[in-house]
């Protein structure tokens, strides 16, 4: 039972973290130009 009290918050917390990360990424426009990003990753920085 004590194990559960530690593990369940950790599990839910990690899940929520992933959810927040996605929502942040979506809001900041990271899914707007998927084709372009695929190409940009190969470019040298200036």
């Amino acid at each position: 039972m004590t194990n559960l009290l530690i593990l369940i918050p950790i599990a839910l917390g990690l899940g929520a973290l992933g959810l927040c990360a996605f929502l942040w990424a979506y809001r900041s426009g990271q899914f707007e130009d998927l084709d372009g990003d695929a190409i940009r990753i190969l470019q040298d920085d200036e």
Binding site: A11, A16, L19, D33, L34, G36
Partner: protein, 776 residues
């Protein structure tokens, strides 16, 4: 990277050469002021096509004084530039972009701020929240079902409630809102039983978890929302693609014109302020802003393809009427406006198209037809279950529980997925065959088609002009190509292409001059040579003119000192598979028709070459006449498929029951068609037709599966035999079966061989070198 060679400096020079006074004003007006003293401009640059393009543009633009940032969106082929508000000449941005070799189209940001993308974003947020909650609640529920008891069970139930209640309330909003608006207007839609089921389940679960038996349904309420949202998101994405036709056409109309003031100076006036009688100056390469008449002593060539769909320019002289939207090709002219913007051809077409879009909005989709039957049935079942239990047991709790069970198992998860999943699978199959689907309900409409109507130029025939090889000898062709290389007239380009095809080296020609409406002349050494209309060329001919067969059809003549008068016949080249496509339609019991803005003689000549019955070809059709004819055909002989490509076809594409257009078509055409095919071959039309029929039959199969599942589950639920575990299994398995069944479509339509795809892509590139992208 080598692929960038496709955009030559020569092409770029063409755009820089045109007088930019108008575009300068329009570009300045298109900027949106931001808070930090900067202005945001968006440009569409369809020629962006590789990694090097991104770098070239971004680096090039950042070097311009006053530009703060420049970012290319590769997916939409747009460039977003933020510049200082104090920047003296923002048009430098456009000029720089075009100097780099990318034609820039001005982009009005105001039209872009539609609510469509906001809806997509809120649906996706709801989907991920529901997904997160349902996965976690399901994990907790599994341990409850497998025998957790005592405090562990209570803890898990409370945790489930903590996750499920906010998630269901938040993620279910699209359904609650739609159900509420339906109820307020006195209707029932599919969302009413959904909202009822979800909210009642949630309420019952909270009651059970706190004071009841502890048999809770939290997982059912969140996973219902999750499955339904998947269907909703897919459906919304398909619908989103259908937008934007009318906006495209209004952008084609010039936004203003240079007015010639009484004192001779010129002044930019917005199109709304142009009144009949005003004198305007139209430079080469500009569109006529309103319907107008050419002033005395002027003549030029205009591209009227917007009205007629014909790519051959027309020569006009003083007093001739030119409609708004036509492009001035060879000489700057002074014109007198004869109508204001509200009465021009473009606004007439916008009206036609808006009417057509409204007509389509009233189309009732299969899923909606089913919903009108299904929703009342569900309510009657749930209510009679409740009434029955009350009568027999007089137990409120048991009666509500049974009624909620009925609502849960009848909740149309599988039904909600049945249509969108079939459309998405269908669209991906067509995508691999070079056909883009722009509209989800297009499959349903395509499957109902009884008649097919084709446009002539650019649809049944290939869009580029081709000259017949016979009639002219190599020496004359070399001289003609030398002349033609100095002009950007489409016919001149056809002459250069013919010379290149025959391996003839163009001669160098001096003193080249273009005479509007007649042709081009120049000198080779001291010999005068001319290319153009017959009487124009004949004036310098020496020797007897060669009388070749079919020369009467020739629209272009070449002659010169030392050269006899020789014809260059313009040929219409049939699209590959045009005849086979029409034969397949014939075999499938579909009547074919031909509609064209061209003359009766050339339409009849084409009809005779194809399996189209006499009397089914209509010539000299204006955009409005095409719409009328299609409506008339639709009334007489059933739903009509229209395949067309021109700007003049846009209203007809919108008016037909379902429509299709080649990728080389005008942007407006592509924005208004339901299907766009990228290959040169017309066989795509047959592919789309056959696949649409398969998609609809799979949708019906999916409905059958979902209903069969319900006929088993409903009696079970009505008699109280459904536990949360059974409901969860039944609900997910029916959705999975529907998805699995639809994937069988892939087996029915295997991908074409790799070779065909490559050939198709090559053909498509040839047809339209830069853009294959469909307007978003």
């Amino acid at each position: 990277m080598s692929c960038c060679i496709g955009v030559t400096p020569d092409q770029a020079a063409d755009f820089i050469g045109s007088p930019d006074a108008l575009r300068r004003e329009e570009f300045r007006a298109s900027g949106v002021a931001l808070d930090d003293d900067s202005v945001r401009y968006v440009l569409a640059a369809p020629a962006i096509h590789c990694a090097a393009c991104i770098q070239t543009i971004e680096r090039g633009l950042k070097r311009v004084q006053g530009v703060r940032s420049a970012r290319v969106n590769f997916s939409t082929r747009r460039v977003m530039v933020e510049a200082d508000a104090a920047m003296a000449e923002p048009f430098q941005i456009v000029e720089t972009l075009e100097k780099l070799g990318y034609k820039a189209e001005l982009f009005d940001l105001s039209g872009e701020l539609t609510d469509g993308s906001a809806v997509t974003a809120s649906l996706i947020r709801a989907l991920v929240v529901a997904g997160f909650a349902s996965a976690n609640v399901m994990l907790l529920s599994v341990s409850v079902w497998s025998g957790a008891d005592g405090t562990t069970r209570t803890l898990f139930l409370y945790l489930s409630a903590l996750l499920a209640v906010p998630a269901t309330l938040y993620a279910g909003q699209p359904f609650y809102r739609s159900a509420w608006s339906a109820l307020r207007s006195g209707r029932l839609n599919m969302d009413v039983p959904i909202a009822l089921a979800v909210l009642l389940t949630l309420g019952l679960s909270v009651y059970e978890a706190t004071i009841g038996t502890g048999e809770s349904w939290f997982d059912a309420s969140v996973s219902l929302i999750f499955f339904l949202l998947i269907g909703r998101v897919l459906d919304h994405l398909m619908r989103e693609r259908a937008r934007g036709g009318v906006e495209q056409l209004t952008r084609l109309a010039a936004k203003g014109a240079m007015r010639i003031m009484p004192d001779g100076s010129t002044l930019y006036v917005p199109v709304d302020e142009i009144r009949p009688g005003m004198r305007l100056l139209v430079a080469v390469g500009e569109r006529f802003a309103v319907d107008c008449r050419l002033a005395d002593g002027t003549r030029t060539d205009v591209d009227r393809s917007m009205a007629t769909g014909e790519s051959l320019p027309v020569s006009v002289s003083a007093g001739a009427k030119v409609e708004a939207g036509a492009v001035n090709l060879t000489r700057s002219v002074e014109v007198e406006a004869t109508a204001d913007a509200g009465h021009s051809l473009v606004s007439e077409m916008v009206r036609l198209m808006e009417a057509a879009e409204q007509g389509k909005a009233s189309y009732v989709r299969l899923a909606d037809k089913l919903a009108t039957l299904y929703a009342p049935l569900v309510h009657i079942l749930a209510f009679s279950t409740f009434a029955g239990w009350m009568l027999v047991t007089q137990d409120w709790h048991a009666a509500i529980r049974a009624a909620v069970c009925v609502l849960i198992v009848t909740c149309p998860c599988a039904l909600g997925l049945a249509v969108p999943i079939a459309q998405v699978v269908g669209a991906s199959i067509l995508m691999r065959r070079g056909i883009l689907v722009r509209n989800g309900s297009a499959f349903e409409r395509m499957a109902e088609v009884r008649q097919a109507v084709f446009d002539k130029t650019g649809t049944l025939t290939l869009p580029h002009l081709k000259l017949g090889a016979g009639g002219i000898d190599d020496a004359a062709l070399a001289a003609a190509a030398g002349l033609a290389s100095n002009s950007r007239h489409p016919l001149s380009q056809a002459v250069t292409a013919l010379a290149a095809g025959r391996g003839v080296q163009p001669l160098s020609v001096t003193d080249v001059g273009e005479i509007a409406g007649a042709g081009i002349e120049g000198r080779i050494g001291d010999m005068a040579v001319r290319l153009g209309r017959r009487d124009f060329a004949a004036a310098v001919a020496t020797g007897a003119s060669a009388r070749a067969a079919g020369e009467d059809e020739a629209t272009l003549w070449f002659a010169g000192a030392g050269f006899a008068l020789q014809p260059l016949a313009v040929e219409a080249e049939l699209r590959p598979d045009a005849e086979a496509t029409l034969r397949e339609f014939q075999a499938g019991g579909i009547t074919s028709h031909l509609l064209s803005g061209d003359t009766a003689a050339s339409v009849e000549a084409l009809r005779a070459r194809l399996p189209i019955a006499a009397g089914h070809a209509f010539a000299s059709m204006s955009p409005a006449a095409k719409v009328e004819r299609i409506a008339a055909l639709g009334r007489e002989g059933g739903p009509v498929l229209f395949v067309g490509d021109g700007i003049n076809d846009a209203p007809a594409l919108g008016a037909a029951h379902v429509s299709m257009t080649p990728a080389a078509a005008s942007d407006v055409g592509r924005a208004n068609a339901d299907f766009v095919f990228l290959n040169a071959s017309l066989a795509g039309v047959i592919d789309a037709w056959k696949l649409s029929r398969a998609v609809v039959s799979f949708v019906k199969q999916n409905f059958a599966i979902a209903i069969a599942y319900n006929t088993i589950a409903i009696p079970l639920a009505m008699f109280g035999g459904v536990t949360p575990l059974i409901a969860a299994i039944a609900m997910s398995s029916s959705s999975i079966i529907v998805v699995g069944n639809t994937l069988r479509l892939r087996l029915r339509f295997p991908d074409p061989k790799a070779l065909d795809v490559a050939a198709g892509a090559a053909a498509a590139r040839q047809e339209r070198p830069t853009t294959l992208e469909v307007p978003a």
